[in-house]
Symmetry: C2
Subunit: 258 residues, 2 copies
DNA sequence: AATCCTAACTTGTATAGACAACCAGACGGG
DNA sequence: CCCGTCTGGTTGTCTATACAAGTTAGGATT
């Protein structure tokens, strides 16, 4: 186990390298659910970093729900497999990779159109302003899972249609060609029924249960850059989430019944 | 702005007090969306704590999506409102209170029964072992929202039926009478269709879209103490979540499509 | 034998300081 | 005027250390 100072992205922080090493050991099954991670002290002496750096690595895995720490005992691998990550903005492919599935996409449509009211409001632009719409069928292990329609203001990413390589990530294209980096996303999840066209594409019956996701992504200045409406199969897709009862409750108001 | 060492829960960490103070200033509108927070240096000198402590306070607000930080510039209030907290274990009433609604419950059933296979497996007990089942209709602003069935091993909370006051929280009863404190919960969310009895209770049509929640709650030792199956109306209930894009991407493997 | 207590381990909080990376505005030379 | 450079301020990472607090095992005491 060695720390490299450099990778293709330039300098990589120690804590991040340690985080990756630990995750790799978990992913390979060397550390199984319930197993204790090396203690912060052991990591720090073994790798020659300070305990705070080792701690940062473990803490970042905690935030992802992959491990949990108990004061006085140690840090342990949590047995929960995340099928949907509720902490990070992840692309469909990243999400599937986390649960060990092979993701593919089929582009259903890619055009520049005037924004309809709902899209304009979400993106904070005028009605009829040009937006790019990218419609994709998302496929995991050859099974169609969902339909995603992404809307982006054309002004922010002119010529996206020409520069975008469908084999790469949309987020990567936005970052590389336009310097746009997503920071925060708000997501609304609703339960609905498959409409005719959705049912056909997803190979399910009309009226089958589906998830409807509506996601608005923002850059750090708070400006919305992407609005996504998705429909996912209710029979194949489910959301797994781990909730933590915080030591110090963030919300402390007078809530009495429960 | 002063730091108190003690509150009703005992000693409260500095960083948490600072976090609360900052959040209060945001909540009251003293710090508006887009405004810069005091710099870590300013917080540390003004309050007489180290910069790392001030940083911890700001970072915890970042994780909640309430503020964002930019290297070289500062930390800023993000302009987004949080409707539902997806990080903490919250009871129905707490959840409704957060979105400003009045919550009520009607007890549909409360009995001690032998555990069926699904319940036994989730709770890690033998089949046929006694479990308490509490079935409640959850009502928000006089509108029926969902049906919750909680299962608890009778062994862990003998006599719950007698001690439980339906007007108070189940979690509070478990904590007060049995010393049981929830620490972690794993939740699975699925999309489904309302069955006949559910539809009747929720006053919706059979076959309407619903959310199915399955939640297993654990105490810190990792033992399961509660298994909850819920069905919530798809037309009235929705999940709002905020996601954060991490600076260093967690997944760096060969993810090509996105 | 049962109980208490201590020691050694863990994570949690906090300090004081250092340098790097990044940003903006001021300043200067072309 | 334009364009680098400098400079001071910010967050990001990291070190070394210290003590608090929770857990566990084993030894001492009763």
């Amino acid at each position: 186990m060695e720390l490299a100072f450099i990778n293709r992205n330039g300098i990589v922080p120690f804590y991040y390298q340690i985080q990756q090493q630990l995750y790799e050991r978990i992913r390979l099954g060397e550390l199984k659910p319930g197993d204790a991670l090396p203690s912060e002290h052991e990591i720090s002496t073994r790798l020659g970093v300070s305990r705070m750096t080792a701690r940062l690595a473990v803490k970042s895995l905690c935030e992802l729900g992959i491990v949990y720490s108990k004061q006085g005992k140690g840090s342990f691998v949590s047995g929960l497999k995340l099928e949907k990550n509720f902490r990070q903005v992840l692309s469909f492919t990243e999400e599937m990779a986390l649960s060990g599935r092979q993701a593919r996409s089929r582009i259903l449509g890619f055009e520049t159109i005037p924004a309809e009211a709902e899209v304009a409001q979400a993106l904070g632009i005028k009605r009829q302003e040009s937006v790019v719409r990218l419609r994709r069928l998302r496929i995991a292990d050859s099974v169609p899972m969902g339909i995603e329609s992404s809307y982006l203001p054309d002004r922010l990413c002119p010529g996206l249609k020409d520069t975008f390589d469908p084999r790469t990530s949309l987020y990567k294209a936005l970052s590389d060609h336009y310097g746009i980096q997503m920071a925060i996303a708000d997501e609304v999840i609703e339960s609905g029924l498959a409409e005719a066209e959705e049912a056909r594409l997803l190979r399910i019956r009309r009226g089958s249960p589906v998830f409807s996701f509506t996601r608005t992504s923002y850059v750090q200045q708070g400006r919305a850059v992407e609005y996504v409406k998705s429909t996912y199969r209710g029979d194949r897709y489910r959301i797994v989430n781990r909730l933590v009862r915080l030591k110090h409750e963030f919300i402390e108001r007078d809530v009495k019944n429960g």
